[in-house]
């Protein structure tokens, strides 16, 4: 970069302002390429983020001049985590003893691992250091779920969101993997299926939500005869908490399985066919070939794909809002929808607090995932 500038300075300066301007622009090129983006992000992400942090610590009031924000400290967070919004966000926990049982089982598992390490003569405690946080997190998640599955308890928007993200991502991955394996088999006509299977990805989530609302209609939906034949007539979907969650989940899976599908299909093309054929000649079963030859090649792409779906999945709002409007009760409400409802009642502080809690949750999950799962998955090949 310096080369040209020096040449310019060596020539006599008769061209004047224009040339000097050009030279200055050239010297500052690195700034001009990057700065617009950085400034846009600063202005519309970082600045609002700080503003949002402040509004999550304050309460909106109507005053003479209009609206007024007054500082209330952590009151909004207290309300969401401990106060009147607690059941809405965290749900209502049930039988503690049962949960203790699960915890006990997990402790037993850790004990068994430690005993085996002791027998093998490896350090007993050191392995705990890194996974401790992750383990505690998993325990926490397990507790948040399991303690709210008992009759008479109910899930809050936190568990509902986690349910959509975790179960949805797993289903999308498995279905996408299955379809990708089928389409990679070079059967005639797979080209048609490939185009067909990525179609849902382009369809507006609002459209998906309405389509599934039509399909899950209990009176006039196309599946009603099927349910009646199975003896489930009258019941279903949107009136039952789990039915409604399932409806949202199916819509989500319908829309996002294609993403897993195309990424995995591309990754499958990097699998060396010679190895697969050699293994087949040696008499390996199809499962063995998949498990030991194909799957390791899919791991890096899979890890990234799951990361992307984790990040995007937490933002889910369109589907539950349209398909079930968050109901019955709050059964299908995601955190984003919860925040939107709070905003609609002008409870800006709670909405911002919920947004921040969601952000903490996403950052926690993705950074742990990026720290532990990604490097291991990439190290496989």
């Amino acid at each position: 970069m310096g080369e040209r500038v020096r040449l310019k300075e060596a020539t006599p300066r008769r061209e004047g302002v224009w040339v000097r301007l050009v030279a200055w622009l050239e010297r500052q090129a690195s700034a001009f390429f990057l700065l617009p983006t950085v400034l846009v992000i600063l202005a519309f992400v970082l600045f609002p983020l700080v503003g949002s942090l402040y509004s999550s610590l304050s309460r909106l009031r109507f005053s003479d001049g209009g609206l007024e924000l007054s500082f209330v400290g952590l009151a909004n967070y207290r309300k969401v985590l401990l106060g009147s919004e607690q059941i809405h966000f965290l749900g209502q926990p049930g039988a503690i003893g049962w949960v203790m049982g699960v915890m006990g089982l997990l402790a037993l598992g850790i004990g068994v691992v430690m005993y085996r390490r002791y027998r093998a003569g490896r350090p007993v405690w050191t392995w705990l250091g890194q996974p401790l946080l992750g383990g505690l997190l998993l325990l926490g998640f397990a507790w948040l779920f399991l303690s709210r599955l008992w009759p008479g308890t109910h899930m809050g928007t936190l568990q509902t969101t986690l349910f959509y993200v975790l179960v949805g991502t797993a289903l999308q991955y498995l279905l996408g993997l299955g379809l990708a394996l089928l389409c990679a088999e070079r059967l005639p006509g797979t080209r048609f299926f490939r185009v067909l299977f990525i179609l849902p990805l382009a369809i507006t989530p609002i459209g998906v939500a309405y389509m599934f609302r039509m399909l899950t209609d209990t009176g006039k939906g196309p599946l009603v005869p099927l349910w009646e034949a199975l003896g489930w007539g009258g019941f279903f979907w949107v009136n039952d908490p789990w039915g409604a969650r399932l409806a949202v989940l199916i819509g989500d899976v319908w829309q996002w399985t294609p993403f897993a599908f195309i990424v995995l299909l591309a990754a499958l093309q990097s699998v060396p066919q010679e190895q697969v054929e050699a293994a087949a000649v040696d008499g390996a079963s199809r499962w063995q070939i998949f498990r030991h030859i194909i799957f390791p090649y899919l791991l890096p792409a899979s890890a990234t794909l799951v990361l992307i779906r984790l990040i995007e999945g937490f933002k889910i709002v369109d589907l539950p809002n349209i398909l079930t409007n968050g109901g019955p009760g709050t059964a299908t409400e995601s955190i984003t929808l919860h925040a939107y409802f709070a905003w609609r009642t002008l409870d800006i502080g709670t909405a911002a607090a919920l947004g921040f809690l969601l952000m903490l949750l996403v950052s926690l999950v993705t950074s742990l995932y990026a720290a532990w799962v990604l490097p291991r998955a990439r190290g496989q090949v």
Partner: protein, 338 residues
């Protein structure tokens, strides 16, 4: 396609099972779309008196819903359509432009911002927000913050010698995608309210650009990393300016990546719902909002809804079908390499 006898050649039974599974998946994908399509040709009575599956067999298709939506609702639909098209196209282009130049910069230049300066900047930002919250008019607060920042940069900023690298900047830009929009939407709402931009296309264009820039940076950065810098270096020795190299050499070379990224951004902005829900009312209403509002105001008249949904998804679906290869490549560049 290669056809040879390999030990992996599936038996007829396996082929049959594969096709069965593919067929079932196709039904799962297509049935909701099929139902949407036939509902748009149904009379209200056909919808309300129970499920009918086959046009001409179960029910007599009618164009009444299409006539109503394109005729009576025509102006509303056209306005929402124009809003969606303008907002999606402009924000996709803007995000592509910003993201591409940033991605190019991050692969071809060395940046070494000081940690001290970054920390100082964030501190000043917090200071400004606090001032505004305390009731200081915002131009004064921003000016004061800027002054403190420059002053601090000249004195304190030089003390800390630790640098950040390009990768840190890239990671920071991309990680903005992790941010759930609902966290920032309220201050953005207040900001646009101050600027008098609520319920305008401009507000939507700006906010969609912001949420889409990280994707553009990410995808295009991967793309540029795979383009060898040799040609650019030759051009530089020949005396071409950085900007000219970017426009006349780099962008044409990156055309496939640009197309793929643009399409993705377009689909994302076309389909966006949450920000539009907060930031627009009647004037800048986009198609997703209009669809959602339809059922709110009139109960759910599925025949009209279906028509509008079909109109809404048609352009993106056609794009996806025609340019499927590009979209595939665009998604894969980022995801497979990781």
């Amino acid at each position: 396609m290669r056809r040879r006898r390999s030990p992996l050649a599936p038996s007829p039974l396996q082929v049959g099972l594969s096709y069965l599974a593919l067929g079932l998946a196709s039904v799962f994908v297509l049935f909701p779309l099929y139902w949407l399509l036939i509902t748009s040709f149904k009379l209200p009575i056909d919808v309300n008196s129970g499920p009918f599956y086959l046009p001409w067999v179960d029910f007599k298709p009618s164009l009444h819903a299409w006539e109503y939506v394109l005729g009576t609702l025509g102006p509303d639909v056209r306005r929402a359509y124009a809003n969606t098209a303008v907002v999606a196209l402009s924000s996709a282009l803007l995000a592509l432009f910003l993201g591409t130049s940033a991605a190019y910069a991050l692969t071809r230049f060395q940046y070494r911002p000081r940690v001290g300066a970054v920390v100082l900047f964030v501190a000043c930002l917090g200071f400004v927000v606090a001032l505004v919250a305390l009731g200081v008019p915002w131009p004064a607060a921003v000016g004061l913050g800027l002054a403190v920042f420059i002053l601090g940069l000249q004195t304190l900023g030089r003390r800390f010698r630790r640098h950040l690298s390009n990768d840190d900047i890239a990671l920071w830009l991309i990680s903005n995608r992790i941010l759930p929009p609902v966290v920032v939407v309220i201050p953005i709402y207040l900001l646009f309210q101050q600027l008098g931009l609520l319920d305008t296309r401009t507000a939507l264009i700006i906010s969609y650009t912001v949420i889409n820039v990280p994707i553009a940076v990410w995808l295009m950065r991967d793309y540029f990393q795979n383009i060898p810098p040799d040609i650019e270096e030759c051009a530089q020795i020949d005396g071409a300016s950085r900007y000219r190299i970017f426009w006349t050499i780099v962008l044409p070379l990156a055309a496939p990546g640009l197309v793929a990224t643009f399409l993705l951004l377009l689909v994302f902005s076309w389909n966006e719902y949450l920000l539009a829900l907060f930031l627009s009312k009647a004037n800048s209403q986009t198609m997703p909002l209009m669809v959602a509002a339809m059922s709110g105001t009139r109960g759910t008249e599925w025949w009209y809804m279906s028509v509008i949904i079909i109109l809404m998804i048609l352009p993106v679906v056609l794009l996806a079908l025609v340019l499927e290869r590009y979209i595939e490549r665009g998604l894969i560049v980022g995801a497979v390499k990781g």
